[in-house]
């Protein structure tokens, strides 16, 4: 197991390195992305631009610039071009909102995704299955920005049931924290509820045809136990993979939802930096996001070994 984890960690580092190089290169080939010019402002004298170029090292060879930037990212000294503020502070500020949004939504979508998928599969072809199929497909198809707008309009602006904007720290006001996050959670979760329930439904229907399910019935187990202990347990394996990847990606920032509900999370900072072609925060956020994706990928592999004993053989010395 130790070697397996070590190998995964090494793989993570390689992937993150590749991502950082790519991001850096892409930024440097974008036309009109000369940061010195945009930092100097409109109508700046060539001298000013030259000074800024000199001061920030924009004339150095790209590998050197890359190394400098990576060094600053890891020492926490990274300063944004736009506004010249410390990047790490902004990211750290945004993390609680992003994590709260992501974890809360994940709990909701796992609960309802598994519930709906399970009921659909158990009642395959029945009325409940058809109703849940419609619900799921609707959930998948509804555009997030539209759903957010509708929820905001009816549940925030018109009726005032929920707040429309902002994030409250959990440590300050736990109830207010949840109250402010309910609409964003629902908005973010709905697509995933639809998606997960469909995946679980088909995965369960596949598993129901397995010989071991017939064996379970032949043992005299109740139908419910056959469905939960034998069918659901095995059908959850692909769901865990999806979950790891989705949570990993969302921890990097849920761009649309954060922006619409003004949560000031990492995703919102990403949008802001992208609009300004502000490389330092872009680099930092991309690496931060990629870190979670890669980390959760590794966690999925480890969870896999736990969920599926057949995987363990190759990776751990028995």
């Amino acid at each position: 197991m130790g070697r397996f984890v070590l190998r995964r960690l090494l793989g993570m580092v390689v992937v993150l390195f590749a991502i950082s190089v790519l991001t850096f290169l892409i930024f440097n080939v974008i036309p009109a992305s000369d940061p010195a010019r945009s930092m100097a402002g409109k109508n700046a004298s060539p001298q000013l631009v030259a000074n800024i170029t000199e001061e920030w090292g924009f004339d150095e060879p790209l590998p050197q610039q890359y190394l400098t930037m990576m060094g600053k990212i890891f020492s926490g000294d990274l300063i944004s071009y736009e506004g010249r503020e410390p990047v790490d502070e902004r990211i750290v500020e945004g993390i609680p909102a992003t994590v709260s949004l992501c974890i809360g939504a994940a709990v909701i979508w796992m609960f309802f995704g598994i519930l709906f998928g399970y009921l659909s599969a158990v009642r395959e072809g029945g009325k409940l299955d058809r109703v849940l199929t419609i619900v799921a497909v609707t959930g998948i198809s509804v555009p997030v920005f539209w759903l957010a707008a509708v929820l905001l309009n009816y549940l925030a602006y018109e009726t005032g049931i929920f707040p429309s904007y902002g994030y409250v720290e959990f440590v300050d006001e736990p109830l207010d924290w949840a109250y402010h996050l309910i609409l964003p959670w629902i908005t973010l979760a709905i697509v995933y509820v639809g998606f997960y329930s469909r995946v679980l439904r088909s995965s369960m229907i596949d598993v129901m045809d397995e010989d071991y399910v017939r064996t379970a019935r032949a043992k005299g187990l109740s139908e419910r136990r056959v469905m939960t202990r034998h069918v659901l347990r095995n059908a959850l394996i692909p769901i865990v993979t999806l979950f790891g990847l989705d949570v990993g990606a969302l921890l990097g920032g849920a761009i649309l939802v954060e922006g619409i509900f003004g949560l000031n999370g990492v995703g919102q900072y990403a949008v802001e930096s992208l609009t300004n072609l502000d490389l330092p925060p872009i680099m930092a956020i991309v690496l931060y996001g990629a870190f979670f994706v890669v980390l959760f990928n590794a966690l999925v592999d480890i969870a896999y070994a736990y969920l599926n004993p057949r995987v363990r053989l190759g990776s751990s010395a028995r």
């Binding site: 010989d211 017939r214 064996t215 032949a218 005299g220 187990l221 139908e223 969920l307």
Partner: protein
């Protein structure tokens, strides 16, 4: 057997609704099984053997299945029984062993845990630890070495033969009266097959376990069966004792099965004999005898379905579905000095 048989099936019909129509997989099968008896059901794939056996405990039940007829276990009707009632019979009174031991255990649970689950499904007074002890005893009794250690292994850590032994152990966990073994040796190596058959025979003798053995392999039947049902296209075409079926077979299909058996005590044939043609589609059965299109001895009367009747005065219980005169059959079935089916010209 003084009074009623342990298990009694009467005119069982199982049909599956499909888009193309009703597939009548089992069409009027009847038999009695006495305590301690081994009944073999033989036939090709699709003959309805497994469906017949699985329907005994309702494993074929679904929205698209039509089940008619009667299956009585010690007099209690199972065909119309509720799922709860059937659940009490499954595992506890009727144990089942399936064809492929590789896929018949849930891969994510330890083998012992799956046996404990079978026990505790019926006996909630048995603690997990007692169940675990019982699982070890069971694995030991079916000849798994180091049972106390192996009980906590996962199914994929067992070989095919060991897994089938474990499957049998699980089927016996609650001391059922009836064991249904659905092609228990088909997926195994020949040497392992013999071990599993020996095990089944031993259990049958030691425990007086009534066994329904489903197979397409007459070699397996010869080893262990007391009585034989030969099925073809959903119907029983011949039934009788092991001796009757092997030494005085009455139905041409049975001749074909016997003729295609390879035997070590006879010269090796140039080509393995086979029954020409393929089994009919269950959606579109020939009129009359289902075997007619493949039978070299077909004549006018075969357009009428023969009943499963006793046709030999001195052999009660030996029944078949063939219109041919028994004396003629005895001449027709001899091919190259052995029982067999002529290849259609």
């Amino acid at each position: 057997m003084s009074t009623e048989p342990l298990l009694s099936m009467r005119d069982l019909r199982v049909g599956f609704v499909s888009e193309a129509g009703l597939v009548q997989a089992v069409d009027g099968v009847s038999f009695d099984l006495a305590a301690g008896e081994v009944l073999a059901i033989v036939g090709e794939s699709g003959a309805g053997k497994s469906v017949t056996a699985q329907t005994i405990v309702g494993l074929t039940r679904s929205a698209n299945t039509r089940i008619e007829g009667s299956v009585r276990l010690r007099g209690a009707e199972l065909v119309g029984a509720s799922d709860d009632e059937l659940g009490k019979v499954r595992g506890a009174e009727v144990g089942m062993v399936f064809q492929d031991p590789m896929t018949s255990f849930n891969p994510v649970y330890r083998l012992g845990a799956q046996i404990v689950e079978a026990i505790r499904a019926h006996r909630d007074d048995v603690s997990k630890r007692e169940g675990h002890e019982r699982a070890i005893e069971l694995l030991d009794s079916v000849g798994i070495p180091n049972a106390s250690r192996r009980v906590d292994d996962y199914p994929h850590e067992f070989s095919g033969g060991m897994r089938q032994r474990a499957m049998i152990a699980m089927a016996l966990a609650l001391d059922p009266d009836v064991l249904i073994a659905d092609e228990p040796t088909t997926a195994l190596d020949v040497t392992v097959q013999a071990q599993i058959l020996a095990l089944l025979e031993r259990l049958n003798q030691e425990r007086g376990l009534a066994t329904i053995l489903i197979t397409h392999d007459l070699g397996v039947v010869a080893e262990v069966a007391d009585r034989v049902l030969v099925m073809y296209a959903g119907r029983v075409v011949e039934q009788g004792t092991l001796e009757e079926i092997f030494y005085d077979p009455q139905h041409p299909y049975t001749w074909g099965l016997l003729g295609s058996l390879t035997r070590i005590d006879r010269p090796r044939p140039e080509r393995l004999p086979q029954i020409g043609g393929a089994p009919p589609s269950l959606l579109n059965l020939p009129q009359g005898c289902s075997f007619r299109p493949r039978c070299p001895h077909e004549f006018d009367r075969c357009a009428e379905l023969p009943g499963l009747d006793q046709r030999l005065a001195d052999a009660p219980g030996h029944c078949d579905r063939c219109w041919l005169d028994p004396e003629r059959k005895r001449a027709l079935r001899v091919v190259d000095d052995q029982i067999g089916l002529e290849s259609p010209a």
